[in-house]
Structure formats: structure tokens, C-alpha cells
């Protein structure tokens, strides 16, 4: 029963993310847009070049989808509505999303195209910028919850959501999460304007569809993690648990996509400099502040 519900939630969530992304990029709300794109991509031929690295080319879209789906497996939508409540959930989230980098570099390397390759290597630089800013705020969340299990993390926020308890961590995590899902101001690997699609450039037809699907699941996963770690997950008055999860996740997705659209694309060097000269010291300050706060005000 709950498996059916989870698959349904995943389908609706991914569809909503696709509609929202379309809205954020083209400023039009087309509810049937994803269906039309799916049919179009199914009908389009999936070209395979003569001199490609077949293994990498084929693995990349699947790996992106699998990594993103595995990271969603530890996200609770309501008490009991979770794929697996791993004791190391928050750590597993990082571990699964480490494959995003691998997938993108494979996608860049595979087709032997210049734009893809540049996109892939760029994302490696982007990883060095965002990775620490994803993991460090998660530790402070775990410090408060005394557990890495995502259900315990949500329950620890019953009195006060983490966005109020550790706002600095929330800001760092949200921005780094956007960089991890490469949504607009950080869309270095697939920059439309300068790399003609970057890592996605050589993918056509059904392979492109799987790649895009993986990307949608990734965005959904980052938004869900932000909700679970900082916005109190399913907690909220009046409405049922799953409704609160859905509202929060979709609101975070919409904010990420719409907000990022307003900003100019960040250069890789600039991103690295900001992340290491400002972001990492702030993350360390956050760990210290929360450390003191957890001992002094045990909420």
C-alpha cells in the first residue's frame, strides 16, 4: 500500500517539478507541457556517434536517475511514508548524490563533444565549491537531533523548525543544494547560453528523456531534503501530514527555480572563491554557534 502511495507521490512530484521548471524558464504555465515533451522525445531518434565511449555515454543518464532516486529513498513524507528509514539517512543522502558528479562527468566524456566535456569538467569545480557546504550544515542538523535518521531529524524540530534554530545553516544548505542540482544561477554544466546544453548537448531522444528525468528527480530530492532538514518536514497544523510535506517541497522547488532565474549565471572561479572564502568560514561558524546553542538552549 505505502509502496503504491510512494510511487504516486514520486510521479506527481516529478511532474510538478517539470511544470515548475518550464514555468520558470519560459514564464508560461503549461500543465500538459511534460506530457508533450515526453511524447516528442520518445519519437525523436536517439543518435549514437561513431567515436563515443559507449559505456560512459549509456551509463550517465541511468546513473543520474538512480543516484537521485536513491537519495529520495530516505525522505519521509509522513510518519511511515518513507522507503527506508536508514539509521544513517542523512549521510546516505550525501552518498547517493555523490553520483551526480560521476554521472555528469561521464555524460561529458562519453560523446567526445567539446561542449559536453567542458560542462563535465566545470561541474567538477562546482562540486569542490558546493560539497562541503552541503555536508557541514547537515552535521549541525544531526547535532540537534542526535541522530542521522531523517524521521528523528523531523521529530527533533517539533518545537522549533531548524530554519529558525540555525538560519545560517539553512541559507548555506539551500544555496549549495541549488548548486548540487545545477539550477539556474549555478547551471554551469548545462549552460544553455554558452555551452548549448553542455553535458546534455549530445543526448537526443529517449536517452535525453532519461537524463532530464534524472535532473527533475534531483531537483525534487534537493527540495525535499531542504524541507526535511530545515522546514520541519511533515510538521504543521490542521492539514494532514503528507499535505504539509507536499506544500513545503513544492514551495521550496518553486522558490529555487524562480529565484535562480532572476540571477546571472555564476562563473566557476567566482563560485569557488565565494564558497571557500565566505561559505566555508560561515559553515564553521554555524557549527560552533549551533554547538553552543544545543548545549545552552536544549530545545
Amino acid at each position: 500500500m505505502s509502496a503504491v502511495l510512494l510511487i504516486l507521490a514520486l510521479t506527481v512530484g516529478v511532474y510538478a517539478v517539470a511544470v515548475l521548471e518550464d514555468w520558470a524558464s519560459h514564464n508560461r504555465l503549461r500543465l500538459l507541457g511534460p506530457v508533450i515533451s515526453t511524447l516528442a522525445l520518445l519519437g525523436q531518434e536517439s543518435v549514437l556517434h561513431r567515436k563515443n565511449d559507449r559505456l560512459f555515454f549509456e551509463t550517465a543518464p541511468i546513473l543520474l536517475l538512480v543516484g537521485a532516486l536513491l537519495s529520495l529513498a530516505i525522505i519521509p513524507l509522513a510518519p511511515g511514508l518513507i522507503v527506508t528509514d536508514l539509521a544513517t539517512g542523512a549521510l546516505f543522502f550525501n552518498a547517493a548524490l555523490a553520483y551526480v558528479l560521476v554521472a555528469l562527468i561521464m555524460a561529458g566524456w562519453g560523446p567526445d563533444g567539446a561542449y559536453g566535456m567542458i560542462g563535465g569538467w566545470r561541474f567538477l569545480g562546482q562540486l569542490i565549491a558546493y560539497a562541503m557546504l552541503v555536508v557541514m550544515p547537515i552535521t549541525t542538523v544531526a547535532m540537534r537531533a542526535e541522530s542521522l535518521s531523517t524521521i528523528t531529524i523531523v521529530e527533533s524540530q517539533a518545537q522549533l523548525w531548524n530554519i529558525v534554530y540555525q538560519p545560517l545553516g539553512f541559507v548555506l544548505f539551500a544555496i549549495a543544494g541549488m548548486a548540487m542540482a545545477f539550477v539556474p544561477p549555478f547551471d554551469l554544466p548545462n549552460a544553455e547560453g554558452e555551452l548549448a546544453g553542455g553535458v546534455e548537448a549530445e543526448y537526443t531522444g529517449v536517452r535525453r528523456m532519461v537524463f532530464r528525468l534524472g535532473r527533475m528527480v534531483l531537483i525534487l530530492s534537493v527540495a525535499s531534503a531542504t524541507t526535511v532538514f530545515y522546514l520541519g518536514g511533515w510538521l504543521g497544523p490542521w492539514l494532514p501530514d503528507w499535505a504539509w510535506s507536499a506544500i513545503k517541497i513544492l514551495a521550496v522547488t518553486a522558490l529555487m527555480l524562480a529565484g535562480g532565474r532572476m540571477l546571472p549565471r555564476v562563473r566557476e572561479g567566482t563560485l569557488l572563491a565565494w564558497a571557500w572564502k565566505l561559505g566555508i568560514p560561515l559553515a564553521l561558524v554555524n557549527i560552533f554557534l549551533v554547538g553552543v546553542l544545543v548545549l545552552v538552549v536544549p530545545l
Partner: protein, 120 residues
């Protein structure tokens, strides 16, 4: 649920995703196949033929960051178990990790002063 069962579910999820993707590929294959044409043999690179081979050495200009990243990433391996028992251990845990993080932060400042954060 035991840990092994949980990882079994995750493995099943992986296999299920693989099956889903393969069935999508099969569906696309059933609709039609790609026609062999000369123009499709090379990467499109936005409508132009790719001139140079791209499997070459790439000048990663963030090597300094990458070295510091290694140090910090190793440190995270210690942070996760520490964060779980943090409240139990109390002030001792804060001081222990404070010293550790302070040394790392000094390393970051030292690297900064040596120009690690310049693009090489």
C-alpha cells in the same frame, strides 16, 4: 527492519529503476530506429562539426581548492559520528572538535595567504 533488509530495498529500487529505463528504451526502439546518416557520426556541437579531439588533458584551474577540499572532506568523516553523540558528550565534544576545526581553519587561512585560492 534490519539494516540488511533496508539495503535490500535500496538495491531493489536500483534494479527497478534500471528496468524502468530499459523498458523506456524498448518502447522508443519499438516506435522507430535511428537512420544511419553521415552527419550523425560526429558530435553536433551546436550545429558545427567538432574540430579538435576533446579527450585531452584539461587544465583544471582549481587545483589549490581541490587539495584543501581533500583535507576538509576527510574531516567530515569524523564529523558525522561526532555530531550524533554531541549532546551526550557535551562541552568535551565541543572543545575536542573546536580544536580540530580551529586547526583546519588555520590551514585554510594559511592556504589563503599562500595563494591557494588564486586560479592557477
Amino acid at each position: 527492519m534490519s539494516g540488511l533488509q533496508q539495503y535490500g530495498i535500496l538495491f531493489g529500487l536500483t534494479l527497478g529503476t534500471l528496468g524502468f529505463v530499459l523498458s523506456l528504451y524498448a518502447l522508443a526502439r519499438a516506435i522507430g530506429r535511428s537512420r544511419a546518416e553521415a552527419g550523425k557520426d560526429v558530435p553536433a556541437t551546436a550545429g558545427q562539426l567538432s574540430r579538435d579531439p576533446v579527450w585531452v588533458r584539461y587544465n583544471a584551474r582549481y587545483t589549490g581548492y581541490a587539495l584543501l577540499f581533500l583535507a576538509f572532506d576527510m574531516e567530515m568523516a569524523f564529523m558525522y559520528p561526532w555530531s550524533v553523540v554531541y549532546r551526550e558528550e557535551g562541552l568535551v565534544a565541543l572543545l575536542d572538535m573546536g580544536v580540530f576545526l580551529a586547526i583546519l581553519f588555520l590551514g585554510l587561512l594559511y592556504g589563503w595567504s599562500q595563494g591557494v585560492f588564486r586560479r592557477q
